[in-house]
């Protein structure tokens, strides 16, 4: 049996409807910030219980643009965690900020207890990452931000549908950036991202900023990039957005099954605590495992497409050398990056495939 990590093949099982939509778009020629984008933005905002959503070119840009619009200036420090995809840090750097890292905690999100020690007079913002689809401790983070006058931009690239204390991701910070990359829970067929905000002022600014600062065809009010969600991608998003609840529920159910089965392997694997009040949407199902690399090879040989997200914490990447961090600075992230493994958990997996993956892990440790 093969248990694939990517679900795209199964998304294509019935593609005629998508192709019909694309045909209509191609014939209509409404390729740039067209009706499909406006519709997708409205529906995405509703999904996040937010008044505004602004489609942009990528999840990375969905972080870069709000940071720039929040007035980040060169040299300003932005706090995040090294347990993330490098795009979080790339976005901070592209916005002109200096990334400052704080260690992660058991659930692979920033440890709120360690944030205040990292704040300096140059700190301007915090970018908590809802990594793997788990939700960072937003109430505590917002308290810290309020006490220190910091802007919060949530990295929700992996966390569409996530909630904490009943509130959607994107409800906490001044903005949240989401990714629509082809492997995300809600995906499009290329690069795409979207920013959610509760600030009408920021939404207006983002709409200008993503589109060259153009107030209309002829009037430029600020120098901005070109970072627009393509209409073509919005067309795909509009088809798939109806499925988000199904996608999320199915991923949560698969994760629950893994959690229960892996509890029996407590001597060998460690499943993060599932915090009360958090709706974890399991973009990635990640555990810590003994003899991780051997387990990965075993699963791969069995046809279970496990992955590692990621083997190198961001502060130890070559790109981060100029920041002056070294091994030992963030022990939790460093230790986790040596033991984490991601099991397939996407919405198109069958129960049988999930049981097969469970059995493959069990057989590795128990023979």
């Amino acid at each position: 049996m093969n248990v694939p990590f990517s679900y795209l093949d199964r998304q294509f099982a019935d593609i005629d409807a998508y192709l019909d939509d694309i045909r209509q778009l191609v014939l209509g020629g409404d390729f740039t910030l067209g009706a499909a984008v406006a519709e997708f933005e409205e529906r995405f905002a509703r999904l996040c219980d937010a008044p505004h959503a602004v489609g942009v070119g990528s999840g990375t840009d969905a972080l870069t643009l709000p940071l720039r619009c929040a007035g980040l200036e060169p040299g300003d420090e932005v706090i995040t965690t090294p347990m993330t995809f490098i795009a979080t840090v790339g976005a901070i750097a592209m916005a002109g900020g200096r990334p400052v890292f704080v260690d992660s905690e058991d659930g692979f999100v920033i440890d709120p207890g360690k944030i205040e020690a990292a704040i300096t007079p140059k700190t301007r913002a915090i970018v908590p990452v809802h990594y793997t689809g788990n939700v960072a401790a937003m109430p505590k983070i917002m308290d810290i931000a309020a006490r220190n006058g910091l802007t919060v931009v949530e990295d929700a690239c992996q966390a569409i549908g996530g909630r904490i204390e009943g509130m959607s991701v994107g409800s906490w910070g001044v903005a949240a950036g989401f990714s629509l990359h082809p492997l995300k829970n809600l995906n499009v067929w290329g690069d795409g991202g979207i920013v959610v905000t509760h600030s009408a002022e920021l939404a207006d600014k983002l709409r200008l900023y993503r589109n060259h600062g153009l107030k209309n065809r002829d009037e430029v009010v600020m120098f901005g990039p070109n970072s627009r969600l393509d209409s073509l991608q919005a067309v795909i998003g509009n088809r798939l957005i109806d499925e988000v609840d199904f996608i999320t529920d199915r991923r949560i159910a698969i994760a629950a099954r893994y959690d229960a089965a892996l509890a029996e392997l407590g001597d060998f694997v460690s499943v993060p605590e599932r915090r009360a009040g958090v709706k974890h949407v399991f973009h990635l199902y990640v555990i810590r495992a003994q003899r991780r690399d051997e387990l990965l090879a075993h699963l791969t040989a069995k046809g279970v497409e496990a992955k590692i997200h990621y083997p190198i914490p961001v502060h130890l990447q070559e790109a981060a050398q100029h920041l002056g961090y070294g091994r030992g600075d963030f022990p939790v992230s460093e230790s986790d990056s040596e033991s984490i493994i991601t099991l397939p958990a996407h919405q198109h997996l069958t129960d049988e495939e999930v049981e097969y993956a469970v059995e493959a892990v069990r057989s590795f440790y128990l023979g």
Binding site: S6, L8, D9, F12, I15, L19, I22, R23, L25, V26, L27, G28, G29, F31, T32, G57, S58, G59, T60, D61, T64, P74, I86, A87, V89, G90, A93, M94, G96, H181, P182, W189, G190, D191, H212, G213, L214, D218, E219, V220, V221, M222, F223, G224, P225, N226, S227, R228, D230, S231, L232, Q233, Y310, P311, I312, V314, Q317, E318, A319, A320
Partner: protein, 373 residues
């Protein structure tokens, strides 16, 4: 399918007509991408890059998310940033200048000539100790005066970055634009002559080292899935867009020939209209005619009149960048670039798209004539 009555409306551009004619090929290309399932940097991107490099006569091309990003990446890969100055023209689309500002550098303008392109005679005077690059814009699809620009750049040890956003297939002394400087930056925006069905851009270069760096800078600094060697953007040409642009490449030479024929027809038909002038073609430069821009008396009156005749026109661009709200911060005032400022009040872009038929073009010329006489 709607029918178009050429006696009624002549649009400025006809995106719908362009795509209707090739819709089956485009859809087949999209279906091919779905079959392979590689939406990010899939094989169509590589194929497009190879074909585009060949078209421009360079060794390498790199597909990115937009023409603006092509400029940003070109500046970044050369290490241009805060404190550095980049010399360019004030009459481009704003993105040329935005790119310079977004990397933190300062745009310094040199006025343009009668051909709407940067005046090489004024570039030398704009060079300072902080100048790090010259960014000529091949506006309207006509190449800048590349020989003198290269001489200046070489004399001062400055790289040339060509803004080719409007100039696919434009040439200078038989050499394609995008092959003169360190890099050429092209746009695949839906209104361009080679257009994606969404945003897209592409860089060209002969420099293997720059090419390698551009490959990782557009892809978050990733050298492999796991090794990040520099902070970078996510700026990749979508595979789906590359697949559709590959379809259009089959037609590009034909479309460009039609634009050139349209431009030649306008030039012949409007030669004796004293109120209308336009840059003349010469033996050195072959324009791609992304736009056919004329300078006219009473521009705003003519534009309204043509609109009333059902003829769409456009202005590229009504406000020079230094006089826009965004441009205030650059500290130039009115009068700083008299040629560009005068042209901005007089220029008008006439329909020149590939599907424009002779009867339509003749009607545009007749209407212009009747406005003045």
């Amino acid at each position: 399918m709607r029918t178009r009555d050429i006696t009624v409306d002549i649009p400025y551009v006809d995106i719908v007509g362009q795509h209707a004619a090739i819709k089956d090929e485009l859809l087949a290309a999209v279906a091919g991408v779905i079959d392979r399932g590689q939406f990010v940097l899939g094989e169509e991107v590589g194929e497009f890059e190879r074909r585009f490099a060949e078209l421009c006569g360079v060794d390498y091309a790199v597909g990115v998310n937009s023409g603006t990003d092509a400029l940003i990446l070109a500046l970044q890969v050369l290490g241009i940033g805060p404190g550095d100055e980049v010399i360019t023209a004030p009459n481009s689309f704003v993105a040329t200048v935005s790119a310079v500002r977004l990397v933190g550098a300062t745009p310094v303008f040199a006025d343009v000539g009668d051909d709407y392109n940067i005046d090489p005679g004024r570039v030398a005077g704009a060079i300072s100790g902080r100048t790090r690059a010259i960014l000529p814009v091949h506006l309207t699809g006509r190449a800048c005066a590349m020989d003198p620009l290269r001489e200046i750049a070489t004399a001062h040890g400055l790289p040339l970055i060509e803004d080719c956003a409007q100039a696919v297939l434009a040439s200078y002394r038989g050499q394609g634009v995008g092959s003169f400087g360190a890099m050429g930056c092209f746009s695949l925006h839906p209104l361009k002559t080679l257009n994606a069905c969404g945003d897209g851009g592409v860089l060209t270069t002969d420099d293997a080292e720059l090419y390698e760096k551009l490959l990782y800078l557009r892809n978050l600094g990733l050298k492999t899935r796991e090794d990040c060697i520099a902070w970078g953007h996510n700026s990749r040409l979508d595979t789906v867009q590359a697949a559709m642009v590959l379809v259009k490449l089959r037609y590009l030479e034909e479309w460009t020939a039609q634009r050139r024929a349209n431009a030649a027809a306008y030039q012949a038909a409007l030669a004796d209209v004293a109120e209308v002038s336009y840059p003349l073609d010469d033996s050195v430069r072959e324009s791609a005619y992304h736009t056919f821009v004329v300078e006219v008396e009473d521009r705003d009156g003519l534009k309204v009149y043509l609109q009333d005749c059902g003829i769409g026109t456009a202005i590229h661009y009504p406000t020079p960048i230094h006089l826009t709200t965004a441009g205030n911060e650059l500290g130039y005032g009115s009068g700083a670039f008299p040629v560009a400022e005068r042209q901005a009040k007089r220029i008008l872009s006439l329909p020149v798209f590939a599907g424009l038929v002779p009867e339509q073009l003749e009607r545009v010329c007749r209407s212009i004539r009747s406005y003045y006489h």
